[in-house]
Symmetry: D2
Subunit: 298 residues, 4 copies
């Protein structure tokens, strides 16, 4: 089978189900559906090594919130999306201790900029609490870090974060990153939350540059936002959907390498969704209303 | 047949040839190939109404320069690409008189920003010649205009340009715009030059907001740079290439609307290609070496 | 006397009063003070040629709104400042007809970017009314134009605007520009409105590139925002304030040429004030609440 | 005496000499002058505690290169300035081992952006040497870090750098920062190099958040670029230069607080000078010609 690229556990499960083995039962994986603020939410739990093997992702919980109705721009869209993302994230993370929020990705490449852009909407409080402890006693300490990209830093994100963890001693890390989805309709319209950290390249097992509890010593929660579809994956899906079974992977990869599928108004969508996620993180970490966040971030 | 989207005359001709009518001969169109600085260049001349009808584009000459070898980044890539684009454009335009260079498109959306970005590399001389005629007697007068987008100006590009033409009285207009190609390999790797002006929507005939000799009273030369492939067009091409004949247009459009295919490093590629085109325009208009342009534009 | 640079009529009057002639009465100028939304507002009317001569500015009304209390960031600061600027502007302009809003200045130089930045907060409606007249019947037609700078366009702002006026036929023009103030405390804290248009260089009389009723055929209202103090002017004021009477202009100019005094956080202040002015223009032109503007501009 | 703000050792010495104590000799400080590529260069060595006390800066060497002739834009200005800065820096730093280059300051505030902007012109090699040791054996390992500002990170620059040092183990740190000068003619026209690290607030002694050998365990070389003059300092200098002896500090501070003096074209000058400094750092660290840097950084 053509190896399709996806960073969503939800889609890895779909791909498994579509594959030849679908006659057998998917062992070690549990999937449940619910609604959150009216948004369909799917939870995929990878329970053991069989699940890891089947879906190619580490054990843990993966929640995918489908915000596509959000994009209809009804009057209260922003508030509802913030609450949906925020309350799910809140349920996932430890309820106490300092948080370090990491924005991964390249701020100079629009579809990859969703991590650093999100940080612009996160309320940074650690330094305020340190210098004015009485005034800011109602806030949870939050620090932020933009990793930049290897080509402009020379330092792996995991190295830089490990160094920072040794100084800041956070109780948890929230890492925000752009993802690739397999489906056009999920691009800039879904958010995946997980408690597994981020393994660059999405492999299972010990990856040297993973950002997770094992490498960093603190729990790492990932917030992933699909902003692109890999063009070769889209092509393969289209062909298979039309009954072509034997897609030649090499040819398809070659003719579509370095290409991605994105919304035409990706610049605007990435800005909008980054703000939803940033406010969602504030919702999960602080005891604040959205209007209060507006006032503090203006 | 599925109506595929392309702004390249070269591809309109390819589509015609692929279509059912390919048994008949394409009347009113002449195509020739040559090399320019080593880059393959195709010239499509639409000679009469039969050609207009067949290709859906107005009469005139369309040159497509394939710069893909350019992107191999050999030592002299930039200079050669500038000369290739510049000398072809020079052969197309009047050799005397003031030029007005128009950058169409939205500078806030990367694939659409190629027009305004190009202007940053065009040597602007009109005001210098006016104020210091002796010092700048060796230059041709060049002015520039960034049209912006309708949503932020409230004014159609053609209206704004018409007003400016009445003040500036240029002998010719060069209009730079982003295009959609049908083929991934042509994206950010080709330049189309034409002497037909730009008809928004690519229709033939009297379009109210066209930028051409008819509406503006001066010859309009278009420099078009494909930066995206329409996702539905890519999908249709893939399916047809695999022997699926009856592609359901409506379904395909619906599932891919508002999506485009671009290079992953579109930000960088648009910047690079804009500089090639800007310098190419200088090459066509002024009697300057590339190093002299560097010095004047720094 | 040292020739101090100011673009504010209010300050031109102050300078006249400080000068040797202060024993005589200032003829042809009337000044009145009032409060607007709690902000001190000074109106200087230049009534005839004597006033023009004395203050070096064309006949007409100049309103200076002192927003410095605004910067204390009280809860309702933004709304109050918008209403103060908006209602004064509304009282100055014709109550009907299409408006063309011009943003003068260089968007790449922070203190000069206040004009183009303001346009980002102005509601553009002309194209919407043209295409959907029924839906937008409640709005006044507004178009916008960013002149850019001569070095990147080759076209004088007045030429470009004149061309646009011939196409758009506005009933009035509102031109937004950065000013130089003489006083540090007025920088990024005041707005000057006038019905005289803008004369680049601030001279009286027929200036070829003026933007006013005479050159454009429609009334031109200027919104000026002081963002800098000329460093030589500051120096001269300091020295004279300390009893030094004979300031050597040439020496002072030479050692301070090309220098300006601005707030340390000029980037933020220019962004904030541009939004106040943009919303103020909406307040003057449309029948909308601030919350409605938020919704339409998001 | 009015306490004038300067970050240049050269000017601290000038201030001392102007002060009442100028009848006594300045102990513990040595100053020498030379030319570097035609640029006047002053070296101030603070030799002991007496020197520290007198100039308010830690012991060490401070080189100030006056690039003002550079700004005359003679044909070879860029190359000469790069060589002047680069060769002086090279003479100051250890000749072997990995370097970590730190860009301090706020990239969203132009006069403070010189640190992060400089990093855009520094050749980053650490990751290339790690992954392709044979191909990049001719390069010295260089990593980079943009500290951001406390308000958007919640982490002191010194904390973040300390964490990174523990991971990257550099042999030396080069920290680039914007400075305040006392003299307008030095703004955007001089570079100060020192081997003392950076003490935020410029105090002597143990500062908790200093970036120096003591706090970071590796030698820290500072590259400082004056981009502003404190407006109150300029005012005091003007008044004293005119014979006013008793300047009231409180009044002057109050009326000029939060104001700075900068060049009108600060955006362009900061970009230009950042490139000179970035290339100068490459010159000091790598064995490369300027043309080779151009090719590697394009």
């Amino acid at each position: 089978m053509f190896s399709k690229r996806t960073d969503l556990a939800l889609e890895a499960r779909e791909l498994w189900q579509e594959s030849a083995e679908k006659t057998t039962r998917l062992q070690g994986v549990k999937a449940t559906k619910q609604k959150q603020e009216g948004y369909p939410t799917t939870r995929v739990d990878i329970l053991d090594e069989r699940g890891e093997q089947a879906l190619g992702k580490p054990q843990g919980s993966y929640l995918t919130i489908d915000l596509s109705t959000f994009w209809q721009r009804k009057a209260d869209f922003f508030e509802r999306a913030v609450r949906a993302v925020g309350s799910q994230l809140k349920a996932l993370i430890p309820q106490e201790g300092a948080a370090l929020v990491i924005g991964l990705g390249n701020s100079a490449m629009t579809p990859d900029a969703v991590g650093p852009l999100t940080l612009d909407s996160v309320l940074i409080t650690r330094h305020l609490i340190a210098s004015m402890p009485k005034h800011f006693s109602g806030f949870r300490p939050v620090a932020a870090f933009r990793t930049g990209v290897l080509g402009t830093t020379g330092v792996e994100s995991a190295e830089a974060v490990r160094g920072l963890v040794a100084e800041v001693h956070p109780a948890l890390i929230i890492a925000v990153d752009a993802l690739a989805s397999r489906r056009c309709e999920r691009v800039c319209a879904t958010v995946q939350l997980s408690d597994t950290g981020i393994v660059p390249g999405s492999g299972v097992g010990n990856h040297r540059w993973a950002l997770n509890q094992e490498t960093l010593g603190v729990p790492v929660f990932a917030v992933g936002i699909p902003t692109v579809v890999d063009a070769a994956t889209l092509a393969a899906d289209l062909l298979e959907g039309s009954g072509i079974q034997s897609v030649d992977e090499e040819t398809l990869r070659k003719s579509h390498q370095n290409l991605m599928v994105t919304p035409r108004d990706i610049d605007q969508q990435v800005r909008d969704l980054s703000k939803v996620v940033g406010y969602g993180i504030n919702w999960a970490l602080q005891d604040l209303e959205i209007e209060e966040m507006n006032a503090l971030l203006s």
